[in-house]
Amino acid sequence: MKYVFLFCGTAADQAAFDALTPEELRQRYAQVGRWFAENHARLGHGNQLQGPESATTVRFQPDGKPMVKDGLFLEGKEIIGGYTEVNVANLDEALALAKSWPGRGTVEIRPVIQQR
């Protein structure tokens, strides 16, 4: 099965991240780097995203006209910070992998629609 992990965080997660000392920050990046290296065989394409202040949305109106707006689609407190594709046998394996994520915050697991 193929899944996408969406790495999400709240404003509180962001604040906790911003409060890390340079040394802690270095360690966190090292842990995350190790996670990607160790699970390389099961991970597909992925990226870390720029912050929410850089986001722009194009929303289609009921009449079909696109409207361009500054900011995120989800106006709540959750922000998607990055994503990666994951190839594993089933949800239990995906869950085990997500639980080992060192980057904190929230990991949303979404199965990808596959052609039969």
């Binding site: 099965m1 949800l91 239990d92 869950l95 697991i109 199965p111």
Partner: protein
């Protein structure tokens, strides 16, 4: 060949409970499709509900259900284009399989990726052989709502890739605690709603105890499963004495202990001791040990409150929930008095402000130390917070009892 007698509804429920899980599990193994297996078993149960009361129960009810369920599954496959090619190989009846696969089934139904309502509904239908209508009646929910919830849950099992497997090691422990939470919820739902039980409603507490017993056979080396089973048996042992003949609730202190079922209590204590030998304590074993202290006490006054406080301390170390701390405070009341217990309640007051039993207990304590105005306010607050008729009636009695002289 059929037996002549027309079966009672409860007898059908018992047959369904014994057979449904096995049949569902066997069909999942054969066809590799949870939804197909579950729906086809359900079809067989519905067919039995139509024909057995009319024609009598077949001599081999399990085989009858199995045959009907299998035929329905094959019919469904024929109608589904995607499966047609596979059908030729599948149509051959597999050799009878003696393996009890219900652990995998239970773990799948209670997968943590499913909502609690879905876990409960799936377990009742797929493992206990409830019909959708019975699930709906048990939870006082509209049948269409329950049906939709089940459809969504089964769709998620397929689309999210929830596997049909038994994990091992710490993953099994984690998954098992999810299963035990579902069973305890079912048990409490049945046990607490005794007064609301409508005719023809299946007794959820009995089904939950049956599931716990099944689980203890499938996983004989898990002490928490034994603990939960013991806890349920202890509650059932005292079940009849919880209500007076007029349906009023009777508190533990006032229950007629001669009516407690000594066989159930002895069974439960043997289970607790057996679990204890495994040296892996857990919340259900401790809850059961506390319930056993009450069950063994000849009178309320003679209860071993010191032992109960020790057990609550162990429980708090494992699972420090505010409700456990409330119960510990009540045990402290019996040893150190009402002032000490009130002191213990202060810390948990903010978290338990919405819990009626907190205010009910606090009201009793305040009353004992002579703070009657506050006691009355607490009882009123408790009354505001519960809809259960038996509990309301008890709280009203407290509010209107005569003031002690002096």
């Amino acid at each position: 060949m059929r037996t002549a007698a027309v079966p009672a509804e409860s007898a059908l429920a018992e047959v369904f409970r014994e057979e449904a899980g096995r049949i569902t599990a066997a069909l999942i193994r054969r066809f590799g499709d949870f939804d197909l297996a579950e729906e086809s078993t359900q079809d067989a149960l519905v067919a039995a509900l139509e024909s057995w009361p009319r024609d009598g129960v077949p001599t081999h009810p399990g085989a009858w259900l199995q045959t009907v369920a299998s035929r329905r599954a094959l019919n469904r496959l024929e109608r589904d284009e995607r499966y047609r090619r596979k059908l030729a190989e599948l149509a051959v009846e597999p050799p009878p399989d003696e393996e009890d696969d219900r652990l995998r089934l239970i773990l799948t139904c209670c997968h943590p990726a499913l909502s609690r309502e879905a876990q409960v509904g799936l377990t009742l239908r797929a493992v206990c052989g409830f019909t959708t209508a019975e699930v709906a009646r048990a939870f006082l929910a509209p049948e269409t709502t329950v049906a939709q919830r089940l459809v969504r849950a089964k769709r998620k099992i397929a689309s999210a890739g929830i596997p049909y497997r038994v994990p091992s090691g710490s993953e099994l422990d984690e998954r098992l605690s999810e299963v035990l939470a579902v069973l305890y919820l079912l048990f409490n739902e049945g046990h607490l709603s005794t007064l609301g039980t409508a005719p023809f409603q299946r007794d959820l507490a009995e089904d939950a105890a049956w599931l716990a017993a099944l689980l203890s056979r499938l996983l004989p080396d898990d002490p928490e499963v034994l603990g939960l089973l013991a806890l349920m048996k202890l509650h059932i042992a005292r079940g009849e004495s919880r209500f007076s003949e007029s349906g009023e609730m009777v508190l533990l202190a006032n229950q007629d202990r001669a009516r407690w079922d000594r066989v159930h209590i002895a069974d439960a204590i043997a289970l607790i001791e057996h679990a204890g030998q495994m040296r892996r304590p857990g919340p259900y074993q401790l809850e059961a040990a506390i319930a056993a202290c009450h069950a063994e006490a000849p009178t309320f006054e003679a209860t071993d409150w010191h032992q109960i406080v020790v057990l609550y301390d162990m429980l708090i170390a494992l699972a420090p929930t505010p409700v456990v701390r409330l119960n510990r405070a009540i045990a402290v009341w019996k040893i150190e008095g009402a002032e000490a217990a009130l002191h213990e309640l202060e810390e948990i007051a903010p978290v338990l402000d919405g819990y009626h039993l907190f205010h009910a207990a606090r009201g009793e304590l305040l009353n004992e130390v002579g703070r009657r105005q506050e006691a009355r306010a607490a009882q009123l607050r408790a009354l505001d917070l519960t809809d259960n008729p038996a509990e309301r009636s008890l709280l009203q009695q407290r509010l209107f009892r005569p003031e002690p002289a002096g």
